[in-house]
Amino acid sequence: MPVARTRSVALLGLSGSIVEVEADLGSQLPAFLVIGLPDAAIGESRERVRAAAANSGCPLPARRLTVNLSPATLPKHGSGFDLAIAIACLAAAGRLDPGSAGALVHLGELGLDGRLRPTDGVLPAVLAARRAGVQRVMVPAANAAEASLVGGIEVVGVASLAEAVSWHGGDVEVVAVDPVLAAQPLEPPLVHSGDLADVVGNPEAVAALIAAAAGGHHLGLYGPPGAGKTMLASRLPGILPDLGLDQSLEVASLRSLSGLGVGGLSTRPPFEAPHHTASAASIIGGGGRLIRPGAAARASHGVLFLDEAPEFPTSVLDVLRQPLESRSISIHRASAIASFPASFQLVLAANPCPCGQWSPKGEACTCAPSVKRRYLSRISGPLRDRLDLELWVPRLTTTATSEGAAGRVSSAEARRRVELARAVAAERYRQTPWRTNAEVPRPWLRGAGGMHPGSRATVAIDRALERGGLTMRGYDKVLRLAWTLADLDGAGVPDGEHVGQANVLRRAPLWAA
């Protein structure tokens, strides 16, 4: 058969499209052409495929082979098309059953010896194949476990091209090879071990952290060095509820795309803590042709923690504004637009000033007022506006540290409370696309949602709004947070105390000074 075809997947961001790989065997002088907008890595696949086929005992015919990747206008990247190209060529040459080859989606990079090497992004590619109604997918043995995380699709893991050809009914001797193993999955930089009960003597901060977890509110932590801001933030993922199946598949897909390796499905939310020297592209994602997700996308359904936030370049902090609003990241390049999910919970931590000694009680800060102002102004107003909760974390006193473990909340206990509060909120938003209080848009909050708790509860903030001490946006933030506090208390509707407490948590005292 002079023409044969099979299928593979091209990824753009997290979304994949099925690519048809056609091979035509012409009666011309030997040549090997790959057309259909391939990038340099796919262009080089010609050499890998030719050598791998010859070393697997089924050399490509000495004729002109033309491989077309269709749709031809879709840009394609990476070495994951090697297996599909080899299978299409060998089917065209009559070395295997073309019907069998055409029914599968093939993913994987070939080594010159014919062994299959694992590639990045197998999980999202297999998800895309399943969405397209594909029943079977062939992947390198090293990626088989990752591909099997996707249910409802049969995964065929093969260690070498010879094994793949033989699976398709080709007559080739299969020599047992040492399969190329996947790189060990790297752990996220900060493992969220550590229990909430480790936090000593700061019950207000612990309560606020639980509120942030329950409502999905973005959080700002301010305080002197050594007060425990990082310790608090790193305990936030531990009190968030488990991820659902779709969410954990998305988290694993983003790790797969980042080349971090997927050890298995984790139901725990991710925690990303980029250093303050991070570039905008490393946070938001980027790349000229192959667009890769950044830390913000990897933190989706989990926590993005920016420690020492004023040390980040302002431009880097401000790229987060749009994803915080839309809960997705779009990366525009000349060739394509990729989008990634970005429903992360942002936690910022900052010292109050460069010397770090300022406090609302007026301790020995040596910074000039202008220096302090400039330091904090690196966290721009619009970004700060998106934080529902701001917390002053004071340095501990000796009496607090000598307290016993009694009264401290463990992570397990806190998570139980968070889960209960989230269940109440989810029930309230049953008819809507939202799940947590932080997601509810402002017009719905005041209008169709009918979530105003009544003027008796809001009398204090109503007055502040009248006097101009509170903006309309600030008012809505107080309402959202009040609902979260009410959910945690098991109260049906927020009362005056919830609203008052929310108003206190809304803003840390340090900008006023």
């Binding site: 009666s27 011309q28 002088l29 030997p30 000495a62 004729r63």
Partner: protein
Amino acid sequence: MSHNAELGRLGEDLAAAHLEARGFRLIERNWRCRHGEIDVVAAHRACTVFIEVKTRAGDRFGHPFEAITAAKLARLRRLAAMWCEAKGAAAGPPRIDAVAVLVRPGEAAVIEHLEGIG
């Protein structure tokens, strides 16, 4: 005669026999001019066919067809034009074919034929 020239001669004989068996009428073999040589000129289905024969004793140095590079093909085209000029008029539209002969010691020769290679 060197080993390679002998092998080439053997291959051309095998190719000529193969072509005749497939209905080619041989017009000329080893036509030479100062720019080079055409291995076989034959008539086939109203075409004048210029045939390059490549012979190998094994595939250690690649398939015989792989030895026909773009430069060799271009030279063959020029030679074909010269042949037509030298012989007056061509008997039909010209075509260039390639024949690969693989003669492994102690085995039957394998002959492959590509028509209209460019």
